[in-house]
Symmetry: C2
Subunit: 344 residues, 2 copies
């Protein structure tokens, strides 16, 4: 392991520069990962633009796969050399603290009140040659899971979490608004669980891909009467569940147009921008429930990738070196999955 | 029964006039009620002002008690002379139609796609000497329930519906934002079910009343650090359930400040105004669920009033005659419960 390493540091909105860093001593329970690949997601785009403001400077990157090269404790030496990814909430639980915060004490460890979040909140992420994580967050990649596929475990877990919070049954008719990187994974998880899924997007190519990934129907948003078409697909009353994965603050209002009375809107977008013009009275009159969810169960994501290989690797459109992270994030607005290869 | 009757008709926002009306023939399954009292609620204020726009002209008034004076069908003759109130959603179910709409067919009869709603949507309400309703919506008032108390069955059912949609357990810590007419009933229902309840209001007199009605704690909104005080009352993490009954589009944002991660915000306000500046990203990061609910189970409300007499009558501050409905609605912004006495 080198004594110094390079990291792409976001110093202010839109301003990333490559800094050389020295390793500081590991805290108890930490491991160092040599990053193989890191993904760019919608949250990274919002963090980079400043729409989603967080304390800076910060190294972005919270979807990643790499190899463990160092651990703080001898007890964790078994991790050395392992191919891994890691959960991103650094919590009392992940650090195996003796005294838990209120949230970890209630079993809500992803909501740890003391947490940092890799690449998002006060903790440097994976757009770097190396990153450190608490050993409690590590998950080994099974042999059949490639480096590239390993990057998708974090977003796939987030997709699965949608239906951990909002359980589905095979009789449900589910509309997914927005079938970009995350929306497509959500479609795949819902279809895998047997639900009837209708993908909605402004992009025909995204709809074609969603159809190839197993959705039942695809409707082009923005076309005349597209909302009526979605409602008709649901049987007329509206969808049992509408997953809002548009990445836009307008998504909630659109979702309320196609959900059935007593149905559920599952919000996934973390675009940072406030939502306006929300017709709360309509939501109350229709007794619509709004669920939200984010980080999900890595073990289930790994299990799904092992049992039912999803062609996630086919989503990778381009791979950028570390010194082109800014370009990679800009480019990610217009394509499927961009990977960063910090040690490439 | 008179051949003609008087009704307070909302012709345009803020413009009510007393019209003389003739009875048109009853439809099958309908009953005529001679109105004893009708209540004024926040929805009436929003309908009157135009904030909550609906087709006009319309007779407002959806909380009422009165006597059945006529029925369309001999089979319903047993209702004649009965003291009653009635549910307000006129549905396929309520009209005992042979063919149900999609919603009634799914058991979602309060969401009937063919419905009218007494005093709200395309159906004249109880600010009139008489109103007609489908017999299927009638509920008899038990002997111990006075005319005045009968008016509170509709809002009490709406309060109960909060916890039909969002079940509570005695260990829950519940914050009720806004303890006006509806919020107070919600506090009473939650306390009756054994939850710890903290009432929050800008008005000290409303808080004093909530304490007298059984809440555990009362916190004055708008005082410095009131949000911190609410969070401290919850134990620090935030409330398990926050019921938003402020009647204001700001309520949702305030609720998101005091709910715990994975907690639930129960929206009750139907003020008609759009909500803006909603920090959807914060809601998603905290995995907050938003529940909404409106009309509830009348039978449970009547049961509660019979088993556990709530002092709802003490909320009646003033009683107005029919020709002062406008003044009554204006006055209702500033006091507890105003009743209209159309035949007084």
């Amino acid at each position: 392991m080198k004594q110094k390493y390079r990291a792409a540091v976001l110093h202010s909105a839109g301003e990333i520069q490559i800094d050389e860093r020295s390793f500081s001593p590991l805290q108890s329970g930490e491991a160092v990962i040599r990053v193989q690949f890191a993904g760019v997601c919608g949250t990274d785009i919002a963090l980079f633009s400043g729409d989603y403001p967080v304390p800076l400077p910060l190294v972005l990157g919270h979807e990643f796969a790499g190899e463990v090269v160092e651990v703080a404790s001898k007890a964790d030496a078994g991790w050395i050399g392992k191919r891994v990814t890691a959960e991103i909430n650094n919590t009392c639980w992940a650090y195996r603290k003796e005294k838990f915060c209120l949230a970890c004490g209630k079993g809500l460890s992803t909501h740890c009140t003391e947490r940092t979040v890799v690449g998002i909140i006060n903790y440097d992420g994976a757009y770097a040659e190396y990153l450190r994580v608490p050993v409690g967050n590590l998950h080994a990649l099974p042999d059949g899971v490639s480096w590239e596929t390993g990057v998708f475990i974090e977003p796939l877990a987030a997709a699965i979490q949608t239906f951990e919070i909002t359980p589905i049954t095979p009789s449900n008719r589910i509309v997914v608004l927005g079938v970009g990187r995350l929306g497509l994974l959500i479609c795949a998880v819902a279809a895998f669980r047997g639900a009837q899924v209708c993908a909605v997007s402004r992009s025909q190519s995204k709809l074609d891909r969603a159809l190839a990934w197993g959705v039942t129907a695809a409707i082009r948003a923005g076309q005349p009467d597209w909302i009526a078409a979605v409602r008709e697909w649901t049987g007329g009353l509206g969808a049992d569940i509408v997953v809002e994965a548009t990445g836009s603050p307008e998504g909630l209002s659109l979702a309320s147009e196609v959900v059935r009375p007593r149905g559920t809107i599952a919000l996934k977008s973390t675009c940072g921008l406030p939502a306006s013009g929300i017709d709360v009275t309509k939501l109350v009159v229709d007794e619509v429930q709004i669920h939200t969810s984010r980080c999900g169960p890595f073990a289930k994501a790994i299990g799904l990738l092992t049992r039912q290989p999803l062609p996630v690797g086919s989503l990778v459109s381009e791979i950028y070196p570390l010194d082109q992270v800014s370009q990679a994030i800009e480019r990610a607005k217009w394509t499927t999955k961009i990977l960063i290869q910090p040690n490439g």
